[in-house]
């Protein structure tokens, strides 16, 4: 098996490094084109899911009302993705037949949004819920209004959980967006389905690798964004024993410049 395995790896590397596979031709979309399509499908789904579930999750956490929505959203996770997609295509596609690819795009996006909503919603809710009662009590007691408590105290403290929900949604959406190709659309799934159909395994494996690489890259980007938006006071990255002398010096400088 070892030589055979080596052969496949070599073939995959060969497939991926072939410049012809990266460029599009009038007959065939290359890696870059499919990558763009894949990212586009994912972005649409993630933006829609975020717009729906982040405010909703924050509101549920803040008010403690309608918590059953979180349960329902989590139950939706159990739906078989491909089954729902095929069902939606059967229902929706005929309305657009022959005009645009919207008949396939809309069902795909619905499926992806359904996948992305639960983790974002439940984490936003849990993030707000987890804010210590003493902190919330102090926020109201200081004279913050409800929206001020939500935006200035609960949201910043919920950010780590919100990010983790969004990151897990992103990974799922990127991985699952391959099914767009199952209903004739493009995306990196194209290589997987085509490779499978043509028994061109290097192409199929390359497709899978590209999806994984995209998912990792997206997660890295989000991790960076998280690092710069979440307060150091929450992440614990502000060291306990940080040198106080330099801090005093910095602070004194700042104060001097502020009073000047």
């Amino acid at each position: 098996m070892a030589p055979g395995g080596a052969l496949v790896i070599g073939d995959v590397v060969g497939w991926l490094t072939d410049p012809a596979h990266w460029q599009s031709t009038p007959f065939d979309t290359g890696i870059l084109g499919q990558l763009g399509a894949h990212v586009w499908f994912c972005l649409i789904a993630l933006v829609i899911a975020l717009v729906i579930s982040l405010p909703l999750g924050l509101w549920i956490g803040h008010t403690g009302k309608a918590t059953w929505l979180v349960t329902v959203a989590n139950a939706v996770r159990a739906l078989p993705t491909v089954g729902v997609l095929v069902l939606l295509v059967v229902i929706i596609a005929p309305n657009f037949y022959g005009r645009t690819n919207a008949g396939y795009l809309i069902p795909t996006e619905i499926v992806l949004v359904l996948l992305a909503v639960p983790p974002i919603l439940s984490n936003a809710y849990a993030g707000v819920q987890n804010v210590s009662p003493a902190v919330r009590d102090a926020a109201f007691g200081m004279g913050m209004t409800g929206p001020q408590v939500l935006l200035r105290v609960e949201l910043p403290n919920a950010l780590p959980l919100i990010f983790s929900g969004f990151r897990s949604a992103t990974l799922q959406v990127i991985a699952t967006a391959t099914i767009a190709s199952y209903v004739t659309l493009g995306g990196l799934g194209r290589f997987i389905y085509d490779g499978l159909a043509q028994q061109d395994y290097p192409q199929m494996i390359s497709g899978g690798l590209l999806v994984a690489a995209l998912a990792l890259a997206a997660d890295l980007l989000l991790a960076l964004a998280q690092r710069y938006t979440v307060s150091r006071g929450i992440t614990g990255r502000a060291g306990r024993q940080a040198g106080s002398d330099s801090r005093v010096a910095v602070l004194n400088e700042e104060l001097a410049s502020e009073t000047a």
Binding site: A139, M142, P156, R232, V248, E258
Partner: protein
Amino acid sequence: MIRFDHATKSYPGGTVAVDDLQLEAPTGQITVLVGPSGCGKTTSLRMINRMIEPTSGKVWLDDTDTASMPAHELRRQIGYVIQHAGLFPHRTIVDNVATVPFLLGTDKKQARARSMELLERVGLDPAFAKRYPAQLSGGQQQRVGVARALAADPPVMLMDEPFSAVDPVVRDQLQDEFLRLQSDLGKTIVFVTHDIDEAIKLGDQVAVLRVGGTLAQLATPRELLSRPVDAFVAGFVGRDRGYRALGFTQSGSLRTHEEPTVTLGDPLPSGSDRDWVLVVDAAGAPQGWLHLGDQPRGAVVEDRMLYRGGTLATQGGTLRAALDACLSSPSGRGVVVDEAGRLIGTVTAREVLDLIESQGTPS
């Protein structure tokens, strides 16, 4: 002035947390609400800034009905300190302190500069300003909590068991500093605690509440100790009332006796007719007692030889401290020092008791 006007809080299901409370917290003084769990002390406090709305009755802030303005505007005029400080974990210490000024729209630089002053005022190193709450100890966080409540210079402060979550040594320190701060600021303070000792130490007046949310007694600490109105208050105020009441009586000028001393590092005195000799340091501050019989001849007085169990009474302090100094001293002679901690002389328990008797029963 804060005035409860027949304030009642009851919950659906019939639980009454506060029952027809009538109470006035005078301007510039500390009013302590104290009582066992379930007496409605925290509920009463939270009705002042409307964190809890009274079911019936009113709470007045000077001549203003607290219900006459939006709750968040009312709260911005009232300092609020809670048990676990409740600092915002995502904000630096200086920004935590500046919370209310930020809400009121004060210029950021100005608000931060004022916060820095306040941090110093509550005894925190300015180096803490740029840190986050998680980096501070419980006692330090509580200081920040007090500074935050003071940031907008509110005339009124509400404090809900602010010192109960820190260890006894730090608590004592925080209480002393709090009293010092209050003597400077003269805020109208309502302070909730379940600890009767804390109530007696801090309160200008103490309101004892009983379970069911009724006021059992409102009195000065001294009066509470000497004249509890009923068995409940007497039981709650606890043991050693007579002894503790001595803490409210100044000893005046104690007539002390001169006490022979030996300085640390000097050779043992010889030919002393006393068993115990007081050891002082070079500045004249008492360090402890030395038992002569136990020491080898010609030895030098060392730190490890000292008996340090005795407490010190300060000249002009309380009778309680003076008596305690006598009772805790192995020689039976209580050590009296001046403000700077230097030895003045000693006094015996008999002399302190005579002084107590000459002043009549504490009342």
